[in-house]
Symmetry: C2
Subunit: 133 residues, 2 copies
DNA sequence: CTGGATCCCAAGCGATACTG
DNA sequence: CAGTATCGCTTGGGATCCAG
């Protein structure tokens, strides 16, 4: 998905692995998941998201929101008031995904230490001299 | 993770959302999941992976494999025979993740049509003229 | 308040060629 | 067989400024 056919034919493997990539692409963005999580607690406004996520740029918030909306995962409600007001929420489909993401997070929590140790061990094993350049 | 502090301080939100990103980064690569899936069916050789995934470059296979190994998700066994032989497998931790990924895939399967229709509708609604440039 | 437009750097990834 | 090295295109994403 990240690249539109580099000229010469590029077989896309079997349909099975394709589906896997599709779902991940939908959530692969740097901010998608955090937005999904933040919006799962009910309707939330643009600025609330912006401040709640802290570190996200206005640009990326907008872009990610648009993509999620495009995929039917996020709802966007505009109140044509004098200072514009927009509320975002999750669609039922996105709520299902949210539950799934929680399982992923669980895995991360459980194995966070393991992975960190694995990394440290691997790095120590391979390039100990590059650490203090 | 994809960028090392753009100069001015960048707060990293609360630890909660950080963990989410961490796990996703571990799987976000274009090929990580397919490798994880392929390797979950028992020890598999480099060339088998290369041909089984079809579309992956040798370079990316190596890189992704290294990263997964570094994170303690993939095991690498070298047989110092005359033609080198290397077998890859999953660690128990990775096997847990594989189960989780299956759930994600399930979600994708169920809602694949929904998302596709949502996209089409959104695109038709917003820029119908840019479709046949 | 909620974005859109532009600029630009850095990371991701592919192509290709070389090697123990 | 199983990589490593180099190159360059493409994309992601931050900064900044403009606008309804």
């Amino acid at each position: 998905m990240s690249q539109r056919n580099a000229g010469t034919s590029v077989q896309v493997a079997d349909p099975d692995t394709c589906r896997v990539r599709e779902v991940l692409d939908r959530v692969a963005g740097k901010w998608s998941v955090q937005i999904l999580v933040a919006a799962s607690r009910g309707p939330i406004r643009f600025t609330e998201l912006e401040r709640g996520i802290e570190g996200i740029s206005r640009r990326m918030l907008t872009l990610t929101l648009r993509n999620l909306e495009r995929d039917g995962l996020v709802t966007r409600t505009v109140y044509p008031t004098v200072p514009p007001k927009v509320e975002y929420g999750l669609t039922p489909v996105a709520l299902e995904l949210h539950e799934t993401l929680r399982r992923l997070t669980d895995w991360a929590e459980r194995n966070r230490g393991y992975v960190a140790r694995a990394r440290a061990a691997y790095d120590a094993e391979h390039q100990p001299e590059l650490l203090d350049a």
